[in-house]
């Protein structure tokens, strides 16, 4: 059985969303045009994700199987309303910057994914560690993408001028296509790094998982099922 520490640290690198666990891409693409927005969005997600994980884990035996999704969403929605009101009270400029994406945390795949995949099967203290780790990992990622896009696209980082007046900002990066391209290049870099690391350690990468799935440990238990399916397909192709 994994310890609390392991559940916490897996969200920081091994399954870091959204680079390894490619979930919750809507805010990743939409609000990361500056590092500050990324950080603020990440903080909101930490709050919602940790609390929703704990609450769902507490009530996991009370909710009937058939209506569990509705239950998870209702819990997440109440937490998001709380965050929204807190932000309106204490961080109004940030709230205005993030706009519609704060309410949209309700339908963020990470919240539901962790609720369904982890919190509904594990005791509260594990769910707390998982939610906190995933939330912090998400914040790190968002701030990372945000700082890349902001420094190239506006020449600033957290509002501080970086390159001096002769720099012509690469506006493309702070606009919508820049988000897709920077996320794609970061994902490619992560896969390249995983392959390089595996080669250096002499580990054979499982060829049954394509490059995107190799690095992520989220569905390690599914390997057998996937292998079985592939074998069946091979055999049916031969006959």
């Amino acid at each position: 059985m994994a310890t609390m520490m392991q559940e916490f640290t897996k969200g920081l690198w091994k399954e870091i969303p959204p680079f390894r666990l490619v979930l919750g891409l809507c805010p990743v693409l939409a609000v990361t045009n500056s590092a500050e927005n990324g950080l603020g969005m990440g903080a909101a997600v930490i709050f919602v994700l940790t609390l929703s994980n704990v609450i769902i884990s507490l009530v996991r035996k009370i909710i009937p199987k058939k209506v569990r999704i509705v239950g998870f969403i209702a819990i997440a929605a109440s937490l998001v309303v709380t965050v929204e009101m807190l932000m309106q009270a204490f961080a109004y400029p940030l709230y205005q910057q993030l706009g519609i994406f704060v309410p949209l945390i309700v339908v963020n795949c990470i919240i539901l994914g962790r609720a369904e995949g982890f919190a509904s099967k594990n005791p509260p203290h594990m769910a707390l560690a998982d939610g906190l780790g995933m939330g912090i990992g998400f914040t790190i990622s968002l701030t990372f993408i945000g700082s890349i896009r902001e420094s190239l696209g506006a020449g600033t980082l957290f509002g501080v001028d970086l390159f001096g007046p002769s720099f012509e900002p690469f506006t493309f990066m702070v606009q919508a296509p820049g988000a897709f391209i920077s996320l794609g290049l970061i994902l490619a870099g992560m896969n390249f790094f995983t392959a390089w690391q595996a080669k250096r350690n002499g580990v054979e990468l499982d060829p049954n998982f394509d490059a995107g799935c190799r690095g992520c440990a989220a569905c390690k238990g599914l390997e057998k099922i996937v292998n079985q399916k592939k074998l069946e397909r091979l055999e049916s192709a031969k006959s």
Binding site: E168, P169, F170, T171, F172, M173, Q175, P177, I181, G184, L185, A188, P207, N208, K230, L234, A237
Partner: protein, 318 residues
């Protein structure tokens, strides 16, 4: 490895004695470069050494970037088939001749990296790489890509910007013949209309480019321009104006038939070309940039897989 096992399925190509047609990527690319030469000469005579400088930097950066990325991806270097050079030169043809060197270098490198190498190299790209490079630069640095502002030393005007910002009256005096001879400002190579047509016709004559896409593209521009013109002759320019300005001709002969980004069957090619042309007029009429040809090309490139689905049914198939 399982993936290798799966790819061992053999495909029937044809019965045994096969004959190589002699056509290679390299030959096509060399012919394309030769076909671009007249326009490059015209650009040199009109804009001086600046034009040559831009073309040279763009071509050099394209080849060097491709080599570097191929080293990184552990691919076989393919600089000797000249496809990267062609992409770089085509990209340079869309720039103003006074573009600063850093702009040319960044744009050309992005053309190769984001337009080709991220998709696996030449032949894997779903979009026209030079058009993509132009679009990124235009979104990022609109001031440096503004042809009118960049070419202030010349007394001529850029017809599409005039049309966009000052209305149809501003361009009413420009005759089609002067447009044909490139007697106006424009992108470095794309505005040398006659020379581009000459190169394109040579390429089609030697069958390196199939005639369907250019012809249907020009027909699309003409028909859509005519429809707009008939609907409101006081707001929209006549179709011939659209055919001879901006990069329409370069797009028709060199960018639209971009090998991996255009369909390969006749009916899909006709639809692809025609709607590409219609999109040009739509983007020019409603878009915020004066010349929308590369945007139209990228949009229609993304529809190519849909057009490719129009295929003849196999006998007995469903």
């Amino acid at each position: 490895m399982a993936s290798q096992e799966m790819s061992q399925k053999l495909f029937t190509v044809s019965s045994a004695p096969l004959w190589h047609s002699g056509r290679t990527v390299r030959l096509t690319m060399i012919m394309t470069l030769l076909a671009l030469l007249p326009a490059a000469f015209m650009a040199f005579f009109k804009y001086g050494y600046g034009a040559v400088e831009v073309i040279a930097w763009a071509g050099l950066t394209a080849v060097a970037t491709e080599f570097a990325v191929q080293r990184l991806m552990k691919q076989k270097p393919t600089g000797d088939d000249f496809s990267a050079l062609v992409d770089g030169v085509l990209f340079a043809f869309l720039l103003p001749s006074t573009a600063p060197i850093w702009l040319v270098v960044i744009g050309s490198a992005l053309t190769i990296i984001l337009g080709r190498m991220v998709f696996g190299g030449y032949g894997g790209s779903p979009v026209c790489a030079p058009a993509l490079g132009w679009c990124i630069l235009t979104i990022s640095w609109p001031d440096f890509m503004d042809l009118n502002a960049m070419l202030l030393n010349w007394d001529l005007v850029e017809p599409l910007s005039e049309l966009k910002y000052f209305g149809l009256d501003a361009v009413a005096a420009i005759s089609p013949v002067s447009l044909l001879f490139g007697d106006n400002l424009g992108a470095l190579g794309a505005s040398q209309v006659l020379a581009v047509i000459l190169g394109g016709v040579i390429l089609i004559g030697m069958r390196h480019v199939r005639w369907l896409i250019p012809v249907t593209f020009l027909a699309g521009v003409f028909v859509a321009g005519l429809v707009f013109n008939i609907l409101d002759p006081e707001a929209y320019a006549p179709p011939v104006f659209h055919l001879l300005t901006g990069s329409t001709m370069l797009a028709a002969f060199f960018l639209m038939p971009y090998p991996s980004a255009s369909p390969s069957r006749q009916i899909p090619m006709m639809i692809f070309g025609f709607f590409g042309g219609v999109l040009v007029i739509i983007v020019r009429s409603y878009g915020i940039y004066p010349d929308g040809v590369p945007f139209a090309i990228l949009l229609i490139n993304l529809c190519t897989p849909l057009f490719e689905m129009i295929a003849p049914k196999p006998f007995g198939g469903r």
